[in-house]
């Protein structure tokens, strides 16, 4: 499905993006950035586990997977930075849709880290 329409789907897609970029960055010889993706995966899994509170689960609208495609076939000089920019955009779009403060904060932090790398 292309929709990212639940708390779990937002977090799952973030983890999926991080995994993809981690492997991509590793292949493109960006070990530090790849390791940072690994740390973010652990953080996102923990935040999902600790902050999914049933009373706050509301449907999410306006996010689709096709807006955040990572081109792992691109081996140009700035390719990893481009991937980081895609991830940063996802976090920027997703964070305001999450009504659980800790999770929102974690997404914003992930976005900021990708942004800094992309610049």
């Amino acid at each position: 499905m292309n929709e990212i329409n639940t708390f779990g789907a937002v977090m799952e897609f973030a983890i999926e993006l991080e995994r993809r970029i981690r492997d991509y960055a590793s292949n493109e010889n960006e070990p530090d950035y790849s390791s940072a993706c690994g740390r973010r995966i652990s953080t996102l899994e923990r935040v999902r586990r600790e902050n999914v509170v049933e009373i706050m689960l509301e449907p999410i609208q306006g996010l689709t997977r096709e807006r955040y495609v990572i081109d792992t076939a691109d081996h140009s000089q700035d390719a990893v930075k481009a991937a980081a920019a895609v991830a940063a955009r996802y976090y920027t779009d997703a964070a305001p849709k999450i009504n659980v403060l800790e999770a929102k904060r974690a997404l914003e932090r992930c976005g900021k880290q990708h942004s800094e790398f992309a610049e």
Binding site: I4, T6, R49, V52, E54, E58, P59
Partner: protein, 483 residues
């Protein structure tokens, strides 16, 4: 050949004395996940005997040591978090987010139990008479048991078990035969704690096992969550047999929406309340009471948002609503919808007969909205326990409170408003045990008792929070003078 679940008694996995079993079915895929034994009185006898034998040593285990087991249990539950959530989806049918929420809420109760050493302290008064001191000491009572429902197969047993054993009691869980596998998994985790044998015990079964728990002379107290008719039976039977009892029954939860409410935000929250867990929650919002001019915009927004909900298999992250528990439940819910229409309600959104690609045999009922519901209709008064939301229109706030208070249930009620005056009046006047102010699911967290009034609760002390300390301990009064 699917696995036949075993009982956990005295620290060992043993087969039930009954050869008869019932299939545990995934309500979305219709796959048989396991066979659950139709446990017998003798199964319960063994579990209670093991719990009774373990009690004296366990109660004298220092409370700090008992609490340490809860710290370790929390760690293990965090490690197995996703495994539990997946199992809850598979046996219950709810969405993965809802299952994760359930597991989180269960773990919160383990967190709370780590605080027992500070919660269980007694109190003392010197010189109540010349040279005489008086003390109230809390003591555990013995064997407690829980009979738990299908809708929260992981969380509800954890409302009781951690507090019961950390306060020094021993425990027997009898889970719903429709969703017993979460407890099977939990007891495999509990086994890793190396608790003394008999401190925690698991018995599967249905009515016979439940009656055996309620009638057993060595069980000191029973916690129950289920429907109101059964809760009444549990309350009466336990009382007759001299036990403590906390029996939580069904619900019919009303949500008042004032014209001054933030409609978009309110409706988003009401969606979760009415359709979360496919409406199979004792806190599910079931009747929206639209006050005055709130009616038209509320109705329009409810229909728009509910019709957009994605119904699907809970293991798919994008599913926003899962199944009901069984085909029988689906048939019962669909009949209640039909009966509501016969009574004069109008269908605004019809979830009957919904099919999900790839899961055509699944027990799905789509979000359903009935309009024009009147207070005297059966659909407005009785619990549906499914994803059915009724809309009722009243002229003003007082009329809303009157309608809500006419219900024989009193589990939860919510108001959506931007007025502090109405919010205050609502919580003050409405006869329900859990009140939501701009919150559709007023679910008490672990350090608060889970409320409930009228036909929604039978007993004195609620589950969770400080009430659980009172339920699982007795206060012994010591009056002393040293001559």
């Amino acid at each position: 050949m699917t696995k036949v679940l075993k009982n956990y008694v005295g620290g060992a996995w043993i087969a039930s004395d009954s050869a008869a079993t019932t299939p545990v079915v995934n309500p979305a895929t219709c796959e048989t996940l396991a066979q659950v034994p139709e446990g017998t009185r003798s199964d319960v006898d063994k579990a209670v005997a093991a719990a009774k034998a373990a009690f004296n040593d366990w109660r004298s285990t220092p409370v700090m040591s008992r609490a340490q087991y809860m710290y370790r249990l929390k760690t293990l539950l965090e490690e197995h978090f996703e495994e539990f959530a997946k199992m809850v989806v598979e046996e219950n049918g709810k969405t993965r987010d809802e299952a994760r929420g359930e597991v989180r809420r269960g773990i919160e109760n383990v967190d709370y139990a780590t605080h027992v050493p500070s919660l269980i302290r007694g109190y003392k008064l010197e010189d109540v008479s010349s040279g005489i001191d008086e003390t109230a000491e809390r003591q555990p009572l013995g064997v407690f048991a829980a009979i738990t429902p299908f809708n929260f197969p992981f969380m509800v047993p954890l409302w009781f078990l951690p507090m019961a054993i950390t306060t020094g009691n021993t425990f027997v869980v009898k889970p719903s035969p429709q969703t017993p596998i979460s407890m099977d998994l939990l007891f495999h985790v509990l086994e890793e704690l190396d608790l003394p044998e008999g401190v925690v015990n698991l018995v599967h079964g249905g009515k016979e096992a439940s009656m055996a728990v309620m009638e057993h002379p060595d069980v000191r107290g029973v916690s129950f969550v289920g429907s109101t008719p059964v809760a009444k039976i549990v309350y009466e039977t336990c009382a007759k047999h001299g036990k403590r009892v906390q029996a939580q029954g069904g619900a019919k939860n009303y949500i008042a929406v004032m014209p001054d409410a933030n409609m978009a935000a309110s409706v988003a929250n009401i969606m979760g309340s009415a359709f979360g867990g496919a409406g199979q929650r004792c806190l599910a919002g079931s009747v929206v009471v639209a006050v005055g001019d709130a009616y038209e915009p509320l109705k329009a927004e409810l229909i728009k948002r509910a019709s957009g909900l994605r119904v699907g298999y809970g293991l798919e992250e994008t599913s926003q609503m899962g199944t009901v528990i069984s085909g029988a439940a689906r048939a019962r819910i669909e009949k209640m919808i039909a009966d509501g229409l016969t009574e004069g309600a109008q269908i605004a959104l019809d979830g009957r007969g919904v099919k999900v690609d790839g899961f055509e045999q699944g027990s799905f009922v789509g979000p359903t909205i009935l309009d024009g519901v009147e207070p005297d209709m059966n659909i407005a008064r009785e619990e549906v326990f499914g994803p059915v939301l009724s809309i009722m229109r009243v002229p003003d706030f007082d009329a809303a409170v009157e309608v809500i208070n006419r219900s024989h249930y009193g589990n939860a009620a919510s108001i959506f408003t931007s007025s502090g005056k109405f919010a205050r009046e609502f919580k003050y006047r409405v006869q329900a045990g859990n009140i939501g102010i701009n919150v559709g699911v007023a679910a008490a967290t672990a350090s608060f008792p889970f409320g409930g009034q009228k036909d929604s609760f039978f007993g004195d002390l609620h589950g969770q929070g400080p009430d659980s300390i009172d339920f699982f301990t007795d206060r012994k009064i010591v009056i002393e003078r040293w001559l």
